[in-house]
Amino acid sequence: MSALPPGAGLDPAVARRATRLWLVVLAVIGALLVIRAIVGTEVGTGDAARTVHGFGMVFVEPSGQGFAEVPAAAWADAVAQDPAQQRITLSWPRTVGVWAAALLTLAVFSFLWRDNPFYKLAESIVVGVSAGYVMSVAAWDTLVPKLLGALAPGFTKAHLMPALDVTATDWWALVPLVLGMLLLCRLAQRTSWLGVFPLAFVVGTFSGWKFVQYVESDLLAQVATMFDPLWVPGDTLAATIGGTAGAVLILVGVLSVLAYFFFSLEHRGPLGGAAKVGIWYLMITFGASFGFTVMGRIALLAARCEFLFDRWLWLIDPAGNH
């Protein structure tokens, strides 16, 4: 394997080799999918059991105003009872969706190998879709209820959000509207100086807010936890010694880590010693935090693998989806 970092490859010979390599990878993936389809999957039980060669399929049945997903086994059962039934059907949008999701998943993983057109495609899609998504959410969840709903409650309730719980106009909503308009003045060169006022307002208010919040719930409350006695009697001598040692180690740790954060004194002499112990505590904290996080990250990878193996390839079926 070459040690080339991802993205390097402007040399045409390298680029040609990379293209060939990608063709091979794609051919292998394609062949595996064909084999998967030929092998097929048995869905349904008893008399309804049948082998299907498709996978990554989603079946739906009507439910309320829309459709609900049902396991492939339910479809097999329904077809076994009545081959002409139209209640449980294959959902093309959802099936295409599962395949799109699976291919996009592979495209993102391909970045681990190196930057490549598939990753770039996935990247372009996610940037566009997510920006559009967050803006839609902001429009419907914030602008409509909190701005339009506050300033024009009658119109909003009649046409957009009948369930909105407002009756009278709330003129306070003009404040963010004016601030927002000032911010948008940045779009034009001549008026862009007005854009600093909303910035000043936001940063100012939140600095006041966070000032009190952090001093209250982090500084004061954490100092207050240190009222815990150092002497911790337990049921047994071992418990007493253990509890007391723990309490003393906590105190030593808090004081020495704080000592590390002193800026106006060089880390020499007793302060230097304390700061060094402080660093050790910090490193233990980071090590533990790292260890805990690894767990979560592996779980996420497992979830993606399960998606590929379960919902797309139908290799496993732990939750009885097909």
Partner: protein, 234 residues
């Protein structure tokens, strides 16, 4: 001139917020301000969206390398925005059949739901999952016992990793669990001790330091000493 006014505005706004925590009639200022900020951030999307359009349109018109990806981004953005704002494929809410826009914007089956479920969610989820690979690579490279501090980092990560699996439980299962003098050495207990003593102390002290750092930063903003977020470099 406008900058000085802006700094004054920041100070007044900050001081008002501080006072609101102590003066009862100002008590609901926080909720209001949080609402205002959300609305402002929503309006600011016009700035971000305009920038996104501009950057991608420039890239497309320049036909530089990779302009096709810009076109994809642009299409994905406009399609999603259109689907979301116009609630494409969203039936009216059951309670209000006469109001066409009354349904939830991302109800199961709608266009926005499809884009979220099958495009955005798998990509972002996979990017998140790639961390599993990166933690492995970082662990191999960075966790080396170069000095005492690194040794502590390494040893703790090791114990926690081992203690959180069945393997760790097996590895120290020979230590009697009913002898209080040694039972804490069992890996699953040892990682709990690390968490409740060392991590507890380290986190507490960091939280205290951070609170003081936030206080200093906020005060500097309210006093007008830090103004570079407004372009007021000195």
């Amino acid at each position: 001139m406008s900058r000085s006014m802006a700094v004054l505005l920041a100070s007044l706004a900050g001081i008002t917020m501080v006072l609101s925590k102590f003066i009862a009639p100002l008590g609901d200022a926080e909720v209001k301000v949080a609402d205002w900020f959300n609305v402002l951030a929503a309006i600011a999307f016009v700035l971000g969206g305009a920038n996104l359009l501009k950057m991608n349109l420039l890239a497309i018109s320049a036909r530089g390398p990779g302009w096709g990806y810009s076109a994809v981004t642009l299409c994905a953005f406009l399609v999603t925005l259109g689907a979301g704002i116009l609630k494409v494929g969203v039936p009216p809410a059951a309670a209000f059949p006469a109001v066409p826009f009354s349904g939830e914007k991302d109800v199961n089956g709608s266009a926005l739901w499809w884009l979220y479920e099958y495009a955005m969610s798998p990509i972002t989820g996979t990017l998140f999952a790639m961390l599993a690979f990166y933690v492995a690579s970082a662990a191999f490279r960075a966790f080396r016992a170069k000095n005492a501090a690194a040794m502590f980092l390494l040893a703790t990560a090791f114990v926690v990793l081992l203690g959180r699996t069945y393997a760790g439980v097996l590895a120290t299962s020979w230590i009697p669990h009913d002898n209080p003098w040694v039972s804490w050495l069992r890996l699953e207990n040892l990682s709990a001790v690390i968490m409740s003593v060392f991590t507890n102390a380290g986190t507490r002290a960091m939280i205290i330091g951070i609170a003081i750092g936030v206080a200093a930063t906020s005060l500097k903003i309210m006093l007008g000493l830090d103004r570079s977020y407004l372009g007021g470099a000195r």
